[in-house]
Amino acid sequence: MDKKILLDVQNLKVEYALKGKKKVSAVSDVSLNVYENEILALVGESGCGKSTLGKAMIRLVPPVSGQLYFKGVRIDDLDTKAFMPYRRQMQMIFQDPYACLDPRMSVRDIVAEPLDTYKICESKEATTQRVTELLEAVGLKEDHLYRYAHQFSGGQRQRVGIARAIALNPAFIVCDEPVSALDVSVQNQILNLMKEIKEQYGLTYLFISHDLSVVRFIADRVCVMFLGKLCEIGDTELIYNDPQHPYTKFLLDAIPKADPTQRRASRLLLPGELPSPVDPPAGCRFHTRCPYATAECKNTEPKMKQVKGRMVACHMFD
């Protein structure tokens, strides 16, 4: 492997406190590497902890345990001040283009906020100049500078969000379902823009999504998550063409097919409901819904192991 590791996540665990002594473990014991200049997609159904994992990776959510190494430096135990130089290298693009821009700030002020926070430009004019460049880089125009967020369409707002995220020249951007709130026609534009910008600025993305066709289009590697745990992680084409983990198989089989003759012919359906993350099943978390589950699955948690060129956590491959 000649790829350089950008962010190394080890045994990350995030819990949310509920009323009483109960806790939801949104992310439990996740380890993964993000390589430089790649687009790593994180997929899974709603409530499986994708967003929490993404936010915990850039320290927007405090983890219970685990370590984060950014370019080899441990960053999870730094205090706010010492973390600032790393904070500016990790940015985020949000899901809801209607909620992620302050309705009372002009586009100039929104994009200038990161520049002002790190005092990057010397004067107000220089900041405005830089903001204009950033807006042009994401396909907006100079005369959009003094507009407010509500005067834009969803796609344009998301462009503003992207401009804000790249303002600090970050190395790593967590994209939390950046296109799921947009029209399909606009989705395409934004995805292409994100790809372009990634090449131009040498970025690395963690692309969180539940839209599997979008993931196939954009991602280099895919990471499948179920109930706070990783199931399978590997190159996109490898996983899409030949999924190994039973959950991945079900997930990919749920993609609607455009060909009516193929419909329902081989559709696998997943029985049961998503188990509650407050009280996750013992052993493999998927065993309550898995048709291949054995006694072993109920008792011991499967470990990640190398199977056919990717990592899988399932007892089928012991």
């Binding site: 949000f94 906020e113 507009r147 407010y148």
Partner: protein, 293 residues
């Protein structure tokens, strides 16, 4: 595919566009605003509008005179011109409406934002203090403060500000808790903006619409509180005129000279109603959820 963007007066946060939308949607509110301006101007220009002083005894032969050309609202029991006292009383009543409200808004907004955003111990301490203030009947509290501090306009300001900040803090705290969870605050955190700056640049500006409405709704209650205090004989030092005081002294002559009480009562009612209608109108215009419809 990109939509063309218009930047017009119909769609903005500026003073001009707010006035425009207010005029378009709610003409009553605009008239109320004008009425308030007229009252304020009358109060400021009182010496120009009347030849008498507020404590000048204009007639000592016939004290409780009926309205006449020289004295449009007659004279009171001491022989002072009632119209003149009404104008000077507007100064006190409007000031008492506005100044303590501004003080309580600033204090309440700051404490509310800190309580909501910082949470934990700061939240507990501030909110328990607010609970204590809210647990007292506010009129009683104001009366106790006035008794202890004595008459005087500064003391009224203090008493009314002290009574009102708690409810402002509660409302702003609730608003802050809601805004704290929005994605744009999270975006600011992901950039690394400091807590103080998030509070001042993101939370406070987004509380402003509620604060403006609260402001216009708190002013009448402050004016009424002062009137009530004046009616009870507390408040400003005599012989200064205030509307509440005038209602109180005129009460004894209600059958023979009703305008002594009725004129200041009508003034209180007009100003209070005007502020309330203006507040309602502003709320509709400034609410971002209604705006896009």
């Amino acid at each position: 595919m990109e939509k063309k963007i218009k930047n017009t007066v119909e769609d903005g946060h500026g003073f001009r566009s707010v006035c425009y939308r207010l005029w378009k949607e709610n003409k009553v509110a605009v008239f109320c605003a004008l009425l308030i301006v007229i009252f304020a101007l009358a109060a400021i220009c009182a010496p120009l509008l009347t030849p008498y002083g507020y404590d000048e005894i204009v007639t000592d032969t016939y004290r409780l005179s009926q309205p006449s050309l020289a004295h449009p609202l007659g004279t009171d029991e001491v022989g002072r011109d009632v119209f003149t006292r009404l104008l000077y009383g507007a100064r006190i009543s409007l000031m008492v409406g506005i100044v303590p409200t501004i003080i309580s808004m600033i204090v309440g907004a700051l404490l509310g934002i800190i309580a909501g955003f910082v949470g934990g111990k700061a939240d507990a301490v501030i909110m328990r203090l607010a609970d204590i203030m809210l647990a007292f009947p506010s009129m009683l509290l104001a009366m106790v403060i006035m008794y202890t501090l004595g008459d005087g306009i500064i003391n009224i300001f203090l008493a009314l500000a002290l009574v009102n900040w708690a409810s402002v803090a509660r409302i702003v705290r609730a608003e802050t808790l809601k805004l704290k969870e929005t994605e744009y605050v999270e975006a600011a955190r992901s950039i690394g903006v400091s807590k103080w700056k998030i509070m001042m640049r993101h939370i406070l500006p987004n509380c402003i619409p509620s604060l403006i409405v609260l402001f216009t709704l708190n002013i009448p209650s402050a004016i009424l509180s002062e009137s009530a205090l004046g009616f009870l004989g507390l408040g400003i030092e005599k012989p200064m005129a205030s509307w509440g005081l005038m209602v109180n002294t005129g009460r004894q002559y209600l059958y023979t000279n009703p305008w002594l009480s009725l004129a200041p009562s009508a003034a209180i009612m007009l100003v209070v109603l005007a502020f309330n209608f203006l507040g309602d109108g502003l709320r509709d215009v400034l609410d971002p959820h209604l705006k896009n419809q």
